[in-house]
């Protein structure tokens, strides 16, 4: 059972900051990873804080995220160091981090996961445009519904905007203005909430109504995107058309939080065709488009991560050719994950499907 506490009469950012400050200053954790504005840019970047006094610019609720911070979180939790870390992450970042734990890329030992309700993020340039007009985008965003329409396409179809698996979840959805609900998700979380000395509260009834409405809205959007995308990629020809402008820059791979290989197979010479092969092919067909492995690259990445794709949308955000990479990935991932009844990031104990052999798979029956 969760324990609840409520902070009233403070903006969510202030409330979160107060809580994190307390964690650090009371030595309840040794360091905090949280998004913070830098002196150089309004865009909040994942930042590791060891001193409470340095936390002025933190902005975890900003509707921007130039990274899926699971990668950075995994970097600081790659091995247990004996120090206790608090990681403040969005729901999609937590899900990606859990996938990375399953893949042995980091550990949750001595890690406190702090999750926040996520209303979505904007593309960087959209955020920066609003920032230059409004100054404090975060607090405007929390109350202004028209700003909330400016989030990325992938965020608009995300139904998992509440943090699951966090030790402490901070919620603003369905709360009165300037109120934040803290909920424990584990014994660790419960103990920490006690230490923070917040006033206990109940889970407000209206929260469920608000989240349900939002979820329905998102589901409708998702249905639309899936239908549209399925139609666009249902043959190899159409798929190739979809990725026709790909530059093989590999940005999508770089931005993907669950693409974890130390050295990507596309950096090796495995798929590099020999010159004589290319020439012969050109002779035979008249022409060969280069590079030849563009389709292979996307299909390989699909087959490698479709089961673990958490739908964060970063791949689309970083594509210089504006290919809706995330549409493709989320559409395919939804089908793969449904086939295996697998939800990435649902449970650290849940094995990744291709590593187990279920009876049903054997007989080829659908689930």
């Amino acid at each position: 059972m969760s324990v609840y506490a409520m902070v009233k009469d403070a903006s969510p950012t202030v409330a979160v900051k107060a809580a994190l400050t307390k964690l650090l200053s009371q030595n309840l954790v040794d360091a905090v990873l949280v998004a913070a504005k830098s002196p150089y840019s309004a865009l909040p970047m994942p930042t590791l804080f060891a001193e409470a006094s340095a936390m002025d610019g933190i902005d975890p609720l900003a509707p921007a995220a130039p990274f899926n911070a699971a990668r950075q979180a995994a970097t600081v939790s790659r091995q247990a160091t004996g120090k206790r870390l608090a990681l403040v992450l969005r729901p999609c970042e937590i899900r990606a981090l859990i996938e990375l734990v399953k893949l042995n890329q980091c550990t949750l030992e001595n890690v406190v996961l702090i999750g926040i309700d996520c209303l979505g993020r904007m593309e960087n340039e959209v955020f920066l445009r609003h920032a230059s007009a409004l100054g404090d985008v975060t607090s405007e965003f929390q109350k202004n519904t028209s700003l909330q329409d400016d989030i990325t396409r992938t965020c608009q179809m995300c139904e998992q905007f509440e943090p699951a698996h966090a030790d402490i979840a901070m919620s603003t959805l369905g709360m009165a203005e300037n109120s934040v609900l803290f909920a424990s998700g584990s014994e660790t979380g419960e103990a920490l909430l006690k230490e923070l000395g917040l006033s206990p509260a109940e889970n407000p009834a209206q929260r469920e109504t608000v989240t349900k409405q939002l979820r329905e809205k998102r589901a409708a959007c998702k249905k639309e995107v899936f239908a549209e995308t399925s139609e666009k990629i249902n043959s190899i020809e159409k798929f190739e058309k979809m990725i026709g402008t790909c530059l093989n820059c590999y940005n999508c791979r770089q931005a993907c939080p669950v693409c974890y290989c130390r050295e990507c197979v596309f950096l090796t010479d495995v798929f590099a065709a020999r010159p004589e092969t290319l020439l012969r092919r050109a002779q035979k067909r008249g022409s060969v488009k280069l590079p030849t492995d563009t389709t292979m690259f996307h299909l390989t990445r699909l087959s490698h991560i479709a089961h673990s794709c958490v739908g964060c949308g970063q791949c689309s955000s970083v594509c210089p050719s504006n290919i809706p990479v995330a549409d493709i990935f989320t559409t395919v991932a939804a089908q793969v994950q449904a086939a295996y009844d697998y939800v990435p990031g649902r449970d650290v104990q849940e094995p990744i499907p291709y590593l187990i052999f279920a009876e049903k798979q054997k007989s080829g029956e659908p689930k």
Binding site: Q105, C261, E263, V270, E276, Y354
Partner: protein, 658 residues
């Protein structure tokens, strides 16, 4: 030979007599291939696998300085070994060789000749592209443990154990029941010669017990199997017997005195009772009882009893016995886990379980057996001799709702029953069959003999067995209803007794054994042999062989022949004393490995371990079977299979897509 050398590839296209050449223009293929890069020579020949064919390759290697060879002919399964040997003979590493299958994959399956020629061209070109990337590989030789494990102590397992032990090898025979003997021990006579099963069986059981080369583990189960061909490490669990095998003299006093007497006898198919301490049958081997822990008053019900211990003169009863685990070093494994009879309860219309006079064939075997519940007299439950008996064929067999296959033995044993019934009781016997299947030496003759004896054969699968009677005079009898398809009449035959000739299915627990050994099973649950025709006793797992019904239904002569054959395979392996490890195994590049352990999870042979210091996965070459699961699981291509490297496979695909 150096790998730095520029590739010089020789390509040989086989006519395969009339198999390839009439469909594929082999000369045209040779002309085309000759023009490809790195191809030094391309030739065609009538039979590449023949001596002159092989010599052609050897000479070219020597004279033209070839360092890669491609043969386009049949399937690698057929002749890859042959050509690798030829390449080796010429002094080249045998893995500088690639085969293109233009027979099964081209000439046999392609209608149009031109299309076939084009297809052959691309397949050979693909092989050329692949062999370009080949690397020399080495095999290692490992010594073989001179011991055989036989799983299952029925007639198949016993025979396999005896043959192997007679050849001088150490045999461990594991049987889960208290005694060896299996199903055959339950039979009275055997078709078609009507030998007494016990007369031919019990001496073998004693031989097994007394053979110095055989260690018998009854009331035991295989718990764990690790290792690989020649070097298996097997853990056997000896279940507690609660009787000390060394002290017990087999006097039987304990069984006489045991007060828990009303337990249905498994050996007698529930037609009689046994005590809680028991041997399944008087001729059991070893003649040492076990205590049935669920029914024993001391073990199962925590009551004071201990009568058996009180009367045992040698103090052999030990209620504190615990399971024991024995670890064995094994060179070859013979699986002989057998079958079980299909339970006909779900064939509702036959009333098994509802009508007391409906028996399964296994029950009838016991009813008819001199050591059975009626001392071999065929009697109904009311003690009377039946006057008319119906025998129903194909119960549960040839039925897509149950077992779609023919169980092979039922026709013959049904006719054996008919003969015995005629002989013992003089009863009128009606056999209801779909087709009589008697393909065996003296089998058809036996059919004729039973016909001569006046058995009524009705061709028609029985629709229903009912106790509803048409004629009041038949009160208390059962009526068998079927269409006599040869006369197109519905016959209703009132009978006193019905025998259901039930089919065979894999023994309970064979799935678990299959999992322990890594054996695959077919859709019906029988173990898969390596090749249906050419390797019927081998399995896809090297060093594990099959004997008897675990591979599919078969009768005693076939079972014994197969058991001897499986033993022969095992002996051949052990006699040679060494096995060559495979070269096509996995390797993991530590520089590319992310340490995610996906490969470890996916390896079914437990051949990959994790190096905690370097945080990378490492392959144990002795255990790896080269299946490639790790390569498929690894996202960063750190894991790969030698001789199936990404470059080789991609090269092949590239050429095919050209």
């Amino acid at each position: 030979m150096t790998t730095q050398n520029k590739p010089k590839i020789g390509v040989y296209i086989c006519h395969c007599g009339m198999n390839i050449a009439p469909k594929v223009d082999v000369e045209e293929v040779a002309r085309y291939i000759q023009e490809l890069d790195h191809v030094t020579v391309a030739r065609d020949y009538k039979f590449m696998c023949s001596n002159p064919g092989q010599d052609m390759i050897i000479n070219d290697i020597k004279e033209l300085g070839l360092n890669r060879v491609v043969v386009a002919s049949c399937s690698p399964r057929m002749h890859e070994k042959t050509f690798r040997n030829a390449v080796r003979t010429a002094g080249l590493n045998p893995y500088y060789f690639q085969m293109a299958n233009i027979r099964e994959q081209v000439s046999w399956v392609t209608k149009d000749s031109q299309e076939a020629t084009e297809k052959a061209k691309s397949m050979v070109a693909a092989a050329v592209a692949r062999v370009f990337f080949h690397q020399p590989l080495d095999t290692r030789e490992v010594t073989v443990a001179k011991s055989v494990l036989v799983i299952g102590g029925g007639i198949a397992g016993m025979q396999a154990a005896l043959t192997s032990a007679n050849a001088g090898y150490q045999v461990s025979l594991v049987e889960r029941e208290p005694s060896i003997g299996g199903h055959m021990a339950k039979f009275d006579k055997t078709f078609p010669t009507l030998d007494c099963a016990a007369c031919i069986m019990t001496p073998k059981m004693v031989d097994v017990l007394q053979h110095p080369g055989i260690t018998l583990y009854t009331w035991s189960e295989v718990e764990k199997v690790e290792g690989f061909i020649g070097n298996f490490e097997v853990t056997v669990k000896k279940k507690p017997r609660y009787v000390d095998e060394k002290k017990c003299t087999g006097c039987g006093t304990c069984m006489q005195k045991c007060p828990t007497k009303k337990i249905l006898s498994e050996f007698n198919e529930g037609l009689s009772f046994r005590t809680a301490i028991y041997t399944p049958f008087p001729q059991a081997v070893p003649n040492v009882p076990v205590i049935d822990a669920t029914h024993c008053r001391v073990l199962g019900q925590n009551k004071k009893c201990g009568v058996c211990a009180k009367f045992c003169e040698t103090k052999a009863i030990d209620f504190d016995q615990k399971p024991e685990f024995v670890t064995l070093k094994i060179g070859a494994i013979i699986t002989a886990t057998g079958f079980q009879a299909v339970n006909p309860t779900s064939l509702e219309q036959y009333g098994y379980g509802r009508f007391p006079e409906v028996y399964t064939s296994m029950e009838f075997e016991r009813l008819n057996n001199a050591t059975g519940p009626t001392s071999g007299k065929v009697l109904m439950k009311n003690g009377m001799v039946p006057k008319r008996v119906a025998i129903i064929h194909c119960v549960g067999s040839r039925d897509t709702r149950h077992k779609k296959y023919c169980s092979r033995v039922c026709c013959m044993y049904s006719m054996k029953f008919a003969h015995l019934l005629r002989e013992k009781t003089g009863a009128e016997v009606w056999e209801f069959y779909i087709d009589i299947r008697s393909p065996g030496k003296l089998y058809e003759e036996f059919y004729n003999r039973v016909q001569e004896e006046g058995v009524r054969f009705i061709r028609g699968r029985v629709a229903e067995i009912t106790d509803m009677v048409e004629d009041p005079g038949d009160e208390g009898r059962l009526t068998v209803i079927a269409e006599s398809t040869l006369t197109r009449r519905t016959v209703r035959v009132p009978v006193d007794m019905v025998v259901l000739s039930v089919g065979l299915e894999p023994a309970r627990g064979s799935e678990d054994i299959g999992r322990l050994l890594g054996l695959s099973r077919d859709g019906d649950g029988w173990f898969n042999e390596l090749h249906a025709k050419l390797a019927p006793l081998a399995t896809p797992i090297n060093g594990i062989f099959l004997a008897g019904c675990c591979q599919g239904p078969k009768d005693i002569p076939d079972t014994v022949a197969q058991a001897m054959g499986a033993a022969g395979e095992a002996i051949a392996l052990l006699a040679k004393g060494i096995v060559t490890t495979q070269a096509e195994i996995s390797r993991i590049d530590p520089d590319l490995c992310s340490g995610c352990k996906s490969c470890i999870e996916s390896c079914t042979y437990s051949a990959i371990r994790f190096d905690e210091a370097r945080k990378v996965a490492v392959v144990n070459e002795a255990l790896c079977m080269g299946c490639g699961s790790c390569a498929a699981a690894c996202p960063s291509s750190a894991a790969g299979v030698k001789h199936f490297t990404d470059k080789q496979v991609m090269g092949e695909i590239e050429a095919l897509l050209m």
